[in-house]
Every structure is written in C-alpha cells, then in structure tokens.
C-alpha cells in the first residue's frame, strides 16, 4: 500500500497548508462579504417570519425547523446547531477548508501517481501547477459560469437540481479537458470542446425572477473574490501536492 500511503501523506500535508492559507485569504476576501450579506438576509428573514406568524398563529406550537422548511427555500440555522459567530465560526471554516483541500489534493495526487506510473518520472512542480489550473477550470470556472458564486440571502433554484447541474458541469469539463490534453487527435479535440460547452448549452437551473435586498454590487464583489481566491488556492494546491507527493513517492520506491 505504499502508493496509497504516499498519496494520503502528501495530500494531508499540502491540504493542511493550502487550507490554512486560503482561510487567511478568505478572511480578507469572501468572509466579510458573506457577513455583510447576512445582515440583509436576516432582515428579510425576520420580515418573512413575522408575516408567516401573522397569517398562521396556530403554527407557533409546532416544531420550528419543520415550519421553516415548509415556509420556503431556506434551512438557515433554524433549530439545528450552528457555530457561534467569531472564533468558533472561523475555526469550523478553517477545518472545512483544510478538509476540502485534502480532498482535492487526494484527487490531484491520485492523478500524479497514475501519471508518474506511466511516464516513469515524477510530476514536476510546474506541471503540478498546470494540474491545479485544470482543477480551477473544472471546479470553479465551469460550474461558476452557470451558477455564479452566491451570497447568503440571494434566492436560487432548488438545491438538489443545482448540485446535479454542478456535478454534471464538473464531469463534462474534466472529460473535455482530458480528451483535448491526452488524446491529441482532431476528433477527440472536437468532442472535447463539445463536452466543454454542453452543460452551458443545457443551462443551469435558475429561478424565473429573483427578488433580494442584497445589493448587486456586493454580489459582483463576491464573484470576483471567490474566483480569485480559488485561483490562488488551486495553483498553490497543485504546486504543493506535486512537490510533496514526488518526495514521498521517491522515498517509497527506494524502500521497496
């Protein structure tokens, strides 16, 4: 199991570093915007909640969470545990960032292992950086075209339908890029480009009309912040994971 161990060790180390660094970047970029948007969201929520209570006074005796679910599109903190604002919330954000980074690093290092297994040489850091850019295209750019990064308090189509489209966009984009990069024939390139465009021709699920009191300038800032943060994250993760994995893999080979 030496390859598996090398992949996991490399992913945990690079994921930990990239996850913590991206948490710091988010504190200046995305998180302040999320907090600002939540002020608008909470204002709208209390308004909606008061209206619901006025219409159905009998509903007060019922389970709060169930009531919220029935009322609308939102499960924000109603009844369920959520971290307290400040340190606790940021600690969970850091942990979730580290886990996400480790997960994506496992994917990257898995590719590096297959790649170095076929070519016989380990993936150098600048190639790892390119893999990171591919990850940025697959996991941020492509799904973001149809489903732009969203602030809390902005209503959107049902969650499951968006998650399915997101996954489809990710699969189609990665497949398309792989066809173009690794097949290197004209028919493969054409089908690759078709695969890249297909999810956008089908179109992401969206609401007919969106009413929100979150200012559009805030949304625009958020889209930029998310995209740039993600670019930094992916290039960092690609470079780090390839470097660390190459080191672990070489030492694993020497021991074998």
């Amino acid at each position: 199991m030496s390859t598996f161990r090398s992949i996991v060790f490399a992913s945990v180390i690079s994921g930990f570093i990239a996850g913590l660094l991206v948490t710091v970047v988010q504190q200046f970029g995305t998180v302040p915007l999320i907090l600002k948007a939540e002020v608008f969201e909470k204002a709208a929520e209390t308004h909606r909640h008061d209206a619901a209570l006025a219409v159905q006074p009998a509903a007060t005796g019922h389970d709060h969470a169930g009531h919220e679910h029935g009322a609308g599109d939102h499960d924000h903190g109603a009844g369920a545990w959520e971290p307290r604002d400040g340190f606790e919330r940021n600690a969970y954000t850091a942990a979730a960032n580290v886990l996400t980074a480790i997960g994506f690093a496992l994917l990257l290092a898995g590719f590096f292992a297959v790649r170095s297994g076929t070519t016989g040489a380990s993936v150098p850091w600048h190639e790892g950086l390119l893999w990171g850019l591919a990850g940025f295209a697959v996991f941020t750019l492509a799904p973001g075209l149809g489903l732009p990064p969203e602030l809390p308090g902005v209503p959107s189509a049902p969650l499951l339908s968006r998650q399915i489209w997101w996954l489809a966009a990710v699969l189609a984009t990665s497949g398309g890029l792989a066809l173009i990069a690794f097949r290197r024939t004209v028919p493969a390139a054409i089908s690759g480009v078709i695969l890249l465009t297909l999810p956008h021709l089908i179109g992401a699920p969206e609401l007919a009309n969106i009413e929100t009191n979150v200012p559009s300038s805030l949304t625009h800032q958020f889209v930029t912040a998310v995209t740039v943060t993600s670019l930094v994250f992916w290039t960092l993760l690609g470079g780090l994971t390839s470097t660390v994995f190459a080191r672990f893999d070489r030492s694993a080979e020497q021991r074998a």
Binding site: M1, T3, F4, I7, V8, S11, Q26, G29, T30, V31, I34, A65, D73, H74, D75, H76, G77, G79, A80, W81, E82, P83, R89, Y92, T93, A95, A96, N97, L99, T100, I102, G103, F104, A105, L106, L107, A109, G110, F111, A113, V114, G117, F139, T140, P143, G144, L147, P148, P149, E150, L151, P152, S156, L159, R162, Q163, W166, V226, T229, S230
Partner: protein
C-alpha cells in the same frame, strides 16, 4: 527441460508476477485515494445534513458550491 532451466523459469515467474501486481496495485491505490478525496469533498461541500451545512457554511459559499 533441465533442472536449472526449470528453476530459471520459476525464478522469472516469481520475479515478473510481483512487478505486474505492483503496477495494477498503483492504479487501484490511486483510484482508492481519489474515491476517498471525492467522499471528503462531497461530505464537506454537498451533504444535506443541517449541522454539516452550518459548520461548513462559509466554505461552501467561498467555494461557490451550491448552498441553501
């Protein structure tokens, strides 16, 4: 086939088999790690469990994962 040739043949099979197994092993080990990675990202970013959603809320928004 002489005794030594037989021994040679056995030696080669004994040498080649682990190498082949090692190559197959590398691919399946890489796949296993990737499945693990997908599981971790899926749990943090896509789980519908309220508590997981609330803990990873800001990360989901910051990664542009579909949220709410």
């Amino acid at each position: 086939m002489s005794q030594s040739q037989l021994a040679d043949a056995q030696a080669t099979t004994q040498v080649t088999l682990p190498v082949a197994a090692g190559q197959v092993g590398r691919l399946s080990q890489a796949l296993m790690a990737m499945v693990l990675g997908v599981f971790v990202v899926g749990m943090v970013g896509f789980s519908h469990i309220d508590v997981v959603h609330n803990a990873a809320h800001d990360v989901r928004h910051s990664n542009a994962f579909p949220c709410h």
